[in-house]
Symmetry: D2
Subunit: 206 residues, 4 copies
Amino acid sequence: MYPQVIEKLIERFSKFPTIGPRTAARFVFYLMSLSQKEVEELTELIMDFKKSIKFCNFCFNPFEGKEDLCHICKNPKNANNNLLCIVEKEQDLIAIEKTKKYSGLYFILGGTISKLEPKNLKSLRIEELKERIKNPQKFGVANENFKEIILALNPTTEGEATALYLERELKSLRLKITRLGRGLPTGGELEYADEETLSSAFEGRK
Amino acid sequence: MYPQVIEKLIERFSKFPTIGPRTAARFVFYLMSLSQKEVEELTELIMDFKKSIKFCNFCFNPFEGKEDLCHICKNPKNANNNLLCIVEKEQDLIAIEKTKKYSGLYFILGGTISKLEPKNLKSLRIEELKERIKNPQKFGVANENFKEIILALNPTTEGEATALYLERELKSLRLKITRLGRGLPTGGELEYADEETLSSAFEGRK
Amino acid sequence: MYPQVIEKLIERFSKFPTIGPRTAARFVFYLMSLSQKEVEELTELIMDFKKSIKFCNFCFNPFEGKEDLCHICKNPKNANNNLLCIVEKEQDLIAIEKTKKYSGLYFILGGTISKLEPKNLKSLRIEELKERIKNPQKFGVANENFKEIILALNPTTEGEATALYLERELKSLRLKITRLGRGLPTGGELEYADEETLSSAFEGRK
Amino acid sequence: MYPQVIEKLIERFSKFPTIGPRTAARFVFYLMSLSQKEVEELTELIMDFKKSIKFCNFCFNPFEGKEDLCHICKNPKNANNNLLCIVEKEQDLIAIEKTKKYSGLYFILGGTISKLEPKNLKSLRIEELKERIKNPQKFGVANENFKEIILALNPTTEGEATALYLERELKSLRLKITRLGRGLPTGGELEYADEETLSSAFEGRK
């Protein structure tokens, strides 16, 4: 129904995460309402971002700068840099940093194992992870060997499958491997909690 | 928490309609996962779109082409081009075209009156509308004068206020002015309908 | 898990409309928290209600009283009692009365035709409806013959099927048969309206 | 709008937990559709339930039987009956029993402290709790003194306030007092977890 160039842009925005055709159409009409200059500023911002962002040599966290390491890997806050926390994606790293309760290093795995498509294992940074655990100094971080690997994956089906897989893969390194504690979240209710969560809450009582 | 260039892009995407900071962050990580080439294709698509789209000289519908009129204004389908249907925005025009029940001309008003900010009246194309009703041929459409102006605005507070305002503004032109019929929508239930809708449904029975 | 008498009551409350086992359990614990006297008052209220409510001889509206007709059938408000409005259920009648736009008689059909189970036709009061249309005075209402039968059924699949069926059944009576007007409801938006609703809104413009 | 006896019953059902006037009306029409016999069976079930249910002398769990103690208090499954788990309400006890991970005794507090109405403290069984902790044998349970009191209250504002209050009240008994473990629930996601939950998950890692 729309002119072809609009349809093409709607189709393109529909590939953005969480966006369907209707919201994609709203994006296009929003861009239409902007001035030529404002649209140019937007595309320049996107290109700038793409050019100036690079991935940390150790943890794969995206950052802006000329060095090889992101600010977390470069400036370990304290003696806890013999902890390594493995997360699925950037947003999870940010969520953990916000708690200010963890001061070790991170590693961004880049995804999870999907039960249905085990082939997407290739897109996970498993080999990169092993190399960095075996020889962290080689990748520029100033720490002794790791004493604990924390698998900070979501307690979802995909996250659990990924944690199990990593445990097997990392077993031969003979390191302490831990997972995040399970239990009732803030605002949760016993009455509506699943049995596994409630069992964990009982076991982890203190 | 994120590098500055990421924060800036999150902030920019947060201005897109319906998008909050969390989805904006997901957009940025999505762009990060694309290749340099894919990001360039996206920004080129946006710039192409911006350059090739122009607004119809008569109805302000966006279209692609070298002429002054969009395909609706250029090719009135039948004798009904003495009908003019006023809509708030492009998507409403498309929704009406999909019904295939209307074959007259359109005019895109560009917004509605907000009760709280009456000053946004200036952004509505009220003067443009009056000129086109008084002298449609001047703007390129091949039709006699209009016999009916249909105010196809949403039956929301803003839409109703806009329709009332337009009725006053257009009164002196002594044209037949109509509004869309009110009633129960497909799938609606009497039990949950508001009194105004149900009253309209009774009055409009047939 | 619960004592048997609790489980039985949970099971019974689960048959109430919209109630699942969890809310049913909450009802039981609520009754548990009441005094013996309060529970007796509740069961007496239920029994009183069941004994004192009867169905109007003409329209099947439930009412309280010694007479044969409900207050609507007994006191037709004005000359419009040659209108008969057929509704699915009591709540629909109440919804229409609240609009104060209709002053004719009603008939409660007692349900709709389900596409999947055409046998539930038997539970609809079709024969009762025909008798009352043919000879309203026989059932106590003081009016001449009807001039218009309004099929005030929901514009849902079931409601539409029921309306079609009634049209066929009542055809031989050679009466004017109407349906409620379709269109945009209060608060509706063109952009999200289905094509049928929008077509009706265009046809019913005024 | 409805007959008085219907309005009264709608009003009464509206006091049931989670029920508003519209669902209450649906309940009344549901009862109307039942036979006299079915309604009598319902009210008898309610009265039977009310008469045959009593509260356990020790834990206040409702049960059916001639004895003083419910089946949990009567038959402690194992040596863990020097654990006492304090819950807000019956449903929480059932939720914990379903996990099969806890085999101690319970105590149903009967509610939580609401921040706004501290006077509802009186409705909590605080004194009853203290007596039972000090001298459990007096209330019929066959166990030594308790070694751990588990405050299994919801990690909500009300639950936390109640736990704090109980900790102060029970302090002088010099018993080990624990709370359920906090962390990510099954299906939870780091990205959307609040900081407190995520901090707890980190602290409780294993």
